[in-house]
Symmetry: C2
Subunit: 370 residues, 2 copies
Amino acid sequence: MRTPLCDTLGIDVPIIGFTPSEHVAAAISRAGGLGVLGCVRFNDADELDKVLGWMDANTDGRPYGVDVVMPSKIPTEGSSVDLAELIPDGHKAFVERTLAQLGVPELPDGTDERAGVLGWLHSVARSHVEVALRHPIALIANALGSPPVDVIAQAHERGVPVAALAGKAEHAVRHVDNGVDFVVAQGYEAGGHTGEIASMVLLPEIVDAVGERAPVLAAGGIGSGRQAAAALALGAAGVWTGSIWLATREYLETMPDSEPMQQALVAASSSDTVRTRIYTGKPARLLRTRWTEAWAAPDAPEPLPMPLQNLLVSHAHNRIHAAADPSVVSMPVGQIVGRLNEVRAVADVVADLVGGFEAAVDRVAGIRRA
Amino acid sequence: MRTPLCDTLGIDVPIIGFTPSEHVAAAISRAGGLGVLGCVRFNDADELDKVLGWMDANTDGRPYGVDVVMPSKIPTEGSSVDLAELIPDGHKAFVERTLAQLGVPELPDGTDERAGVLGWLHSVARSHVEVALRHPIALIANALGSPPVDVIAQAHERGVPVAALAGKAEHAVRHVDNGVDFVVAQGYEAGGHTGEIASMVLLPEIVDAVGERAPVLAAGGIGSGRQAAAALALGAAGVWTGSIWLATREYLETMPDSEPMQQALVAASSSDTVRTRIYTGKPARLLRTRWTEAWAAPDAPEPLPMPLQNLLVSHAHNRIHAAADPSVVSMPVGQIVGRLNEVRAVADVVADLVGGFEAAVDRVAGIRRA
């Protein structure tokens, strides 16, 4: 299972795994893929620096990447205190009322709370890039499309290629025009920020639109070797996976209190997701739980624009996480969640993707010959 | 490009083509696939009988099928006059007002108007089945899932297999439990009635859920050989295509006044569809035009349940069709519409699907060996 992308990135199999967990990212890289660490959880660049130091020591010299969240248009900036003044009281009251109705308790006094908003700020994302470029990273990906051209230039100066997510062919072309090296074609079925065009249609459209100018990675709906084979048949140079790494044992090493979330994922079917603006202000696919249902009710307010919506719900996310109730989870995940039926080791997931790919290709090659 | 389905159905390539045009259906069958004629346009069973007689004479002895629209739960029955009384005046006024705003003229006096509702009635769909079974059909497909078990038994008595569309794995299992022979896995990206799970996720889920009990056909997003290869890699026994046949020369032989519709399809991108209840009362993907946009406006009423919504809009559809304005089309089509860039001959479309499939499989087989 080798494509030219393997040589470009120095990996064995064209499987890119996005995850907020350094333990998962390192395990993906050690298994021959490319682990990509999501940086949005790091409000403090020094904390990211330490974690990337850990990655350097735990990837056996295999390549890894980082993922930042940088809107192409710079949104409202400011400290979380300034921004909080822009949030309507009605929205705050709805969140408080909803948490009470869902039985989500207050945090204990003295809890050291993360301010969930900061990673979504442009300045913080820039500090992530600066810190990451001090480490031997193999890729910088931006979840919200093309980063500003000076950020791309900064990465290229250090010899680091840049990937950008795209949900439409015209966006993919714009990214490549801006100097982006890889396009991640993110289909409707994907978790997190996503558009409306499904992978089956989007992927070959983007492959044709960018042509020889950039390899395209398939994101959205990839959780098995059959799906990897389908993605490569559609013209992808590799697969970009995310949701499947949430249900791994290594995830618990980074976030040991994530068992209720994993239980909720394992129980969910492919119908149990919803595409909504309640997580960040932009449409993102989340696990459907009592929390997302409350926001879909007729009395719920419209979500706020990025970055205000994440600021509005970040305290709620902390309370929801602490409540440890699988029925009230707030977690981005794709429709592939229906395939997550147990918590597994990262190396087993990689091995299954490769084995399933080989079996699927052998099957279609038999149909080709028949 | 042969699967066991080819032997079961007596076809050369596992490409099933759904179309309301007998000229297209016959051309698909002559090209080695299975043309499936949509029956919903026939209010009068005798008219269907005549058209199937034409099919018998124009398919060179190659197999063909029919597609009926039969909800598993029998909806409101009655003549169009009875049913019309159930339509709120506010809905009628909205339609009239909207047509005026869109510049869609009244029909000329004396126009012989089709009552568009009848094909959606259960009794009419039953008459379609009875007429079709007098012809040497190779398949009866039901666009709305499992037909009643007595209809399945009636088909089986004549040796005719039954296919049913499914948008969820649990529905597919229920269809097979009812005696359905083939499942059509209809992904979110498909035109017409469709669910929310995209093909990349839905198809392997349905393949695994029904196992050896029934072959699964992939519907939704299939318009090129690469997509056919992806579908077969995901476990499909064949592909079910619909939208791509709307932009064929043969379509104009059946419906010569469809050039404005074809112009609209050729101009559309994959972003130019919308999943809405305005066509039949159930969610269906349509071309996004000024007509669908009017129904998405804040002042638009909620669509009525099936079969009332189609009765409400059937006169509007006739006026829209006669207006011949590509910006006000009412046409079910999938996201693959972005690929329809010219009007082609059916045989060329089939040849491209087969050639593209072969090239895609050769490419992934190379990746497998590398």
